[in-house]
């Protein structure tokens, strides 16, 4: 009998908890519905776009250029540490960004576009005026694309010399940029 009483009592508590939970959940759901619709009504007046914080490439370029100029000043006072920063930004642009885009590219055209952008990022738009240089950049880009896309060992072996030559040339370009 005592056990039955305990079970009944436990059941009642459970039932009560269930009701409280259910009403809280329903209440929350109602509030959420109300919240959503009221937000919808008022959002046109107060809402800021979720992409408003995106900095355009152009603006980003201005920020980094300005940072480099300022770092030039502090370079006079504080030694060479900011030179490292400038160097890193260049590396990020040319190697990481280029590399990331390259790894994401789905076709040769996409890859070459990212590749050219990365190189021009380092040297400025003036590079585009030099036809010979642009041809070389594209040629190397094509070779690198081949290297990335053809993954079997045999092809890599065959292309190894060309790839190494491309890398040396690219390294030379980067050194010129410093």
């Amino acid at each position: 009998m005592k056990n039955n009483g305990t079970i009944r009592f436990s059941m009642a508590i459970l039932l009560l908890c269930g009701c409280v939970f259910l009403s809280t959940s329903l209440g929350a759901a109602e509030k959420s519905k109300e919240g959503s619709s009221s937000v919808q009504k008022s959002d046109t007046a107060t809402k800021t776009k979720a992409t408003e914080n995106v900095i355009s490439s152009e603006e980003l370029e201005k920020i980094t250029t300005s940072a480099m100029e300022k770092s030039g000043n502090s370079l006079m006072q504080a030694g060479a540490k900011w030179l490292g920063w400038v160097d890193k930004i260049k590396k990020v642009n040319a190697l990481v960004w280029g590399g990331l885009q390259a790894s994401l590219a789905t076709n040769e055209e996409e890859f070459l576009k990212a590749w050219e952008t990365a190189i021009v990022d380092v040297f400025g738009d003036g590079v585009r005026k030099n036809k010979w240089l642009m041809e070389q950049i594209r040629k190397i880009g094509k070779e690198v694309w081949e290297w990335h896309v053809k993954s079997d060992k045999k092809l890599k072996e065959e292309n190894k010399k060309d790839y190494e030559r491309s890398q040396k040339f690219l390294q030379g370009l980067l050194n010129l940029g410093r």
Partner: protein
């Protein structure tokens, strides 16, 4: 980065849906019960709009002067600092050991993988940071900073983005807790202060720059469709009702996930901002977080071929991160 991985994780997350609510409730409770954390959180809200002035004014005189000088290269002529704004907008607060005189806390932004670590002076009427160091997450975790190999949470080269976010967050939090929860908090902080402050900030800026560069692709002339999508998703997350969200998003247990998402306070949703954009071979990922509650992360994956975008909700807090990592390791 693979859709399958994302979907699997989404399913796993929904498996511990109850814990998500607990985690959310737990977090809100922590802030309410912990004025130390509450005050720092409020400061972040101001700093996300005016990082240069707010942080300088908040800090002690000496620390403020150090801050002003250190961040100067990234401040624009008009006094704004967009990279720093983005850092504060979606940085979570970590709090460590504290007493009447002093305490350790940090702002950590997983999307930029950078941490602003500071020591609070609690002896004054209004506690304020007395000293600080801004570090790339990698250096804080005891790894080497390498600009050419960005953190997985900035660009996930080796694993799915959702896991990269959780893993990077958890690794950083683990280091913070192990170093700053006990009596050794102050000596540990002093150890980090030995780093070259300006040099470390340069690396922090490289991380912020890389995150911003990936996002900037949205505003490139050839990407108008992606920007439109980002805005459409942003609008839906900020104010869409459950019916509207269900029409657009798919995913395993998406209904249950969306129900929980739409139950968040309106202000939390209204302050949702984009935090990352990754264009992959088979899909694009748009990531969002709430500037009011940065523990909330939403990843929307859009397949290249026809198909509905996938909705995935993550929480940057200990309980949630541990559950995900435990499930993954089983």
């Amino acid at each position: 980065m693979k859709t399958t991985k994302l979907l699997t994780t989404a399913a796993l997350i929904m498996g511990c849906a109850g814990s998500m609510q607990m985690a959310f409730a737990g977090n809100a409770q922590n802030t309410a019960e912990n004025p130390f954390e509450g005050n720092i959180s409020v400061m972040r809200i101001f700093a996300k709009d005016t990082p240069v002035k707010t942080v300088k004014d908040w800090m002690s005189k000496g620390a403020g002067a150090k801050w002003e000088k250190m961040i100067q290269p990234t401040v624009r002529k008009d006094g704004s600092a967009p990279l720093l704004k983005n850092f504060f907008a979606t940085a979570v607060v970590f709090t460590g050991a504290r007493n009447e005189d002093s305490g350790i806390a940090a702002f950590y932004n997983v999307w930029q993988d950078s941490i602003l670590l500071f020591q609070m002076d609690n002896s004054e009427r209004f506690s304020a940071p007395e000293n600080f160091i801004f570090l790339p997450g990698s250096v804080f975790r005891g790894e080497k900073f390498n600009a050419e190999k960005p953190a997985q949470s900035i660009f996930p080269a080796n694993e799915a983005f959702d896991l990269a976010i959780i893993r990077t967050y958890q690794a950083t939090k683990k280091v913070f807790d192990s170093k700053f929860s006990g009596k050794k908090a102050m000596p540990e902080f002093a150890g980090y202060l030995k780093n070259d402050s300006d040099g470390m900030f340069a690396d922090v800026t490289v991380n912020a720059y890389l995150n911003a560069k990936l996002l900037a692709a949205l505003k490139d002339p050839g990407n108008t469709a992606a920007l439109k999508e980002a805005d459409r998703f942003g609008d839906l997350l900020q104010s869409g009702n459950i019916g509207e969200l269900e029409k657009v998003f798919s995913g395993k247990n998406v209904k249950s996930m969306l129900e929980k998402f739409t139950a968040f306070p309106a202000a939390t949703r209204e302050s949702i901002v984009i935090t990352a954009f990754l264009k992959g071979k088979n899909q694009s990922i748009y990531a969002y977080s709430s500037a009011l509650w940065p523990e909330l992360a939403i990843l929307i994956s859009v397949p290249k071929e026809n198909g509905k975008p996938t909705f995935l909700m993550l929480f940057l807090n200990d309980k949630f991160a541990q559950q995900i990592m435990n499930i993954k390791s089983k």
